[in-house]
């Protein structure tokens, strides 16, 4: 067992008061730590959403441990293969052929031919300038009945340019073909989890007679392909903005991005924008807004002034959520966020002005591994990372937005906070399980 030697580590660089935080990167980038809160989905989970797809990872043997373990935990090893890169592949210029021939070997051994293969080259391919375009052309030529998706297991694409995640989200829908559009059907795209049935978003779609399609609900490849029929794509995951634009170009599907929010007026405006887009009537959302206020007031009555910590993996808009809670009297003291999303900029600036002492903590800063981070005061955590870092036994077990959207999303969150406040649970039992609510491979 490792024993720490030397003095206690201070918080400098890993924590900052919001009033002193710099948008959009409040912390220096450097050596990183990954907390063992595994609920956020990874590249294996997300792409398994495409039915009858198969994933192929290409890298040196040791590098593949994480994705292999994920596939094994999901019980999806029959949809997972790897091609091992060896030193001679770099020297003899055979990297492209290694991939092409390797895919052939995999196909020969699979009991059933997949409809789609997601190919994941790694950073070595980027460093050596492997011509992946030529690889995909060759694969498509050899196996015209299979769709090949360009994916990435490439940490150097994580923070610059168009991120690997944004590219991959788009690739999930890459196999849809242009079809005659059904103007009474729409897609929600870009999420790992389905949007809750009682959300105003889903109700607006279904109650107006539209068919809703969502990759997270597709159980067969045929169902997936039917998403090409929908006339409109709706997204609220910022990582899907690029993909939505590309789908509009390639499939002619109208694209609308309605950012997730925890501000009632903003939610109403987004829903009205969507209603106009779909050509349906505006609803009176006053009762829904009132219900939100009631839910929050009820939660406040129970939780009182107990300190609250929340993390970025809970929602795409952590600062919007913090603002909602603080403005309703909750005692949010800590946020675990590594960057400030552009959608959250106004909320971040508002919090800087109105709640300047709110603490921001990095989750990946190396000091977070060794810093004295647990709190002795009673604390309610929202999110797995917040639970891990604070050491509390009262936490809302949620990641990937939980499928929450709109006014009902706020009410659900308030109810979960009450539940978590009243019931203790051991964080370790929950947060070590990868891919929160991932049902894809059942």
């Amino acid at each position: 067992m490792l024993t720490r030697i030397g003095k206690a580590v201070d918080m400098q660089g890993a924590a900052v008061k919001i009033k002193e935080a710099v948008y959009p990167n409040p912390f220096e980038s450097g050596l990183e730590y990954t907390p063992p809160a595994r609920g956020t989905w990874n590249i294996v989970h997300t792409n398994m959403l495409v039915p009858e797809s198969h994933q192929v990872y290409i890298c040196a043997a040791g590098c593949l441990r994480g994705v292999v373990l994920t596939a094994a935990e999901m019980g999806a090893m029959d949809r997972f293969s790897s091609i091992l890169v060896e030193e001679h592949n770099l020297m003899d210029g055979s990297m492209e052929n290694l991939i092409i021939d390797g895919v052939g070997d995999i196909l020969d051994r699979l009991p059933r031919r997949p409809k789609v293969m997601f190919i994941y080259p790694a950073c070595i391919h980027r460093f050596m300038g492997c011509d992946m375009s030529a690889v995909y052309v060759q694969l498509q030529r050899r196996y015209p009945d299979i769709g090949f998706g360009e994916c990435y297991m490439d940490p150097i694409m994580r923070k610059s340019g168009l991120t690997a995640e944004a590219r991959t989200r788009w690739q999930l829908y890459h196999f849809l073909t242009p079809q005659e559009h059904d103007w009474k059907s729409v897609n929600i795209i870009g999420n790992n989890l389905p949007t809750s049935e009682d959300s105003e978003l889903v109700r607006l779609i279904k109650d107006n007679g539209f068919i809703l399609r969502d990759l997270t609900l597709c159980r067969t490849y045929e169902e997936y392909l039917e998403m090409g029929k929908s006339a409109v794509n709706i997204s609220y995951n910022p990582q899907m903005i690029y993909g939505g634009q590309q789908m509009e170009k390639s499939l002619g599907q109208k694209n609308i991005y309605i950012p997730l929010s925890f501000d009632c007026l903003e939610i109403r405006n987004e829903l009205y924008q969507l209603a106009d887009f779909l050509g349906v009537q505006h609803l009176d959302y006053s009762p829904n807004m009132l219900q939100c206020e009631r839910s929050l007031a009820k939660a406040k009555d129970v939780i009182g002034d107990t300190a609250i910590a929340l993390d970025y993996a809970v929602t795409f808009r952590p600062f919007s959520l913090a603002r909602l809670l603080l403005d309703h009297g909750f005692n949010v003291t800590r946020m675990y966020v590594d960057t400030i999303p552009s959608e959250d900029k106004a909320d971040f600036e508002y919090l800087q002005q109105c709640y300047p002492n709110l603490m921001l903590y990095a989750t990946v800063h190396a000091k977070m591994r060794v810093m004295d981070r647990h709190t002795t005061e009673p604390l309610l955590a929202i999110g797995q990372k917040a639970a891990y870092f604070t050491g509390t036994r009262h936490f809302v077990d949620i990641a990937e937005c939980g499928g929450f959207y709109g006014f009902t999303g706020i009410s659900h969150m308030a109810a979960r906070m009450v539940e978590a406040f009243l019931e203790e649970k051991d964080a370790r039992d929950y947060i070590q399980i990868k891919g929160w609510r991932c049902r894809t491979c059942r």
Binding site: G93, E96, F127, C130, D131
Partner: protein, 253 residues
């Protein structure tokens, strides 16, 4: 837009030839971009007349991504857009990786869309020593490759290697070999040797350049022959070669 890559053994006169072709084509009113893919970063010197210009790799090293397309380019003779990929510190780093990074950055910053050149010329070092040096051959970069050689054995050996690389890539939709340029060194049986090479690699000699002191004299002035001695017979040879290259490249567009 026509895109060509010129390969050949180090020291064979690629940069001098490419710069003179660039100048000759610019004289004809074409918008020309010349991209030096050599760690020495001196491909375009005789076009812009400066000792050195900022290289893309220097910019990446110094500024990360915080620089613009303008920072990467210098306008030379008659508006020729001059770019130098640059290279790693001598004895360290990877020159091939440098070319990959530089060409990707050029594309990312929209060089081809913004300058809208009629012709782009990649001046590439050596004999395809690694994957990075084959980058300009790839789909999306050059459509046609020209190899410069003399009758010297090492130059012919390098030319054969380059042709072999192109043959290896024929299934990938890469640039195709469009011709051999003989840059004469007045060695014995020079023309026969180069013709034999052309035959062996199923290509043709599309132009030849005489050995002339005018070339060195122009270089001492930091100019191309086209600019410094436009009335010379050497300038005329470059003009004829430029026309031949342009014609061959147009066929393969």
């Amino acid at each position: 837009m026509i895109k060509i890559a010129v390969y050949g053994k180090g020291g064979i006169g690629k940069s001098t030839t490419v710069s003179n072709i660039a100048a000759a084509l610019a004289d004809r009113g074409l918008r020309v971009m010349q991209i030096g893919c050599d760690p020495k970063a001196d491909s375009t010197n005789s076009l812009h007349g400066q000792a050195a210009i900022p290289t893309i790799l220097d910019l990446i090293r110094q500024k990360g991504d915080a620089f613009s397309l303008k920072d990467m380019t210098v306008k030379g003779y008659k508006g020729v857009v001059c770019v130098e990929a640059g290279g790693p510190a001598p004895g360290m780093g990877c020159a091939g990786r440098g070319i990959i990074a530089a060409l990707e950055k050029l594309k990312e910053k929209g060089a081809y869309d913004i300058y809208k050149p009629d012709i782009v010329m990649y001046d590439v070092l050596g004999d395809v020593v690694c994957g990075g040096f084959s980058m300009p051959m790839r789909k999306g970069y050059a459509d046609a490759v020209f190899i410069i050689t003399s009758g010297e054995n090492m130059a012919i050996h390098a030319a054969a290697n380059i042709a072999m690389a192109l043959e290896n890539f024929k299934d990938r939709g890469y640039a195709r070999l469009a011709g051999i340029i003989l840059n004469s060194r007045n060695v014995k049986h020079e023309e026969e040797k180069v013709l034999e090479l052309a035959s062996d690699i199923h290509s043709a000699v599309i132009g030849s350049l005489s050995r002339s002191t005018v070339v060195q004299e122009a270089e001492e002035l930091h100019k191309t022959v086209i600019e410094a001695y436009p009335a010379s017979s050497m300038a005329e040879e470059y003009r004829i070669l430029a026309a031949a290259i342009y014609k061959e490249a147009q066929k393969r567009r």
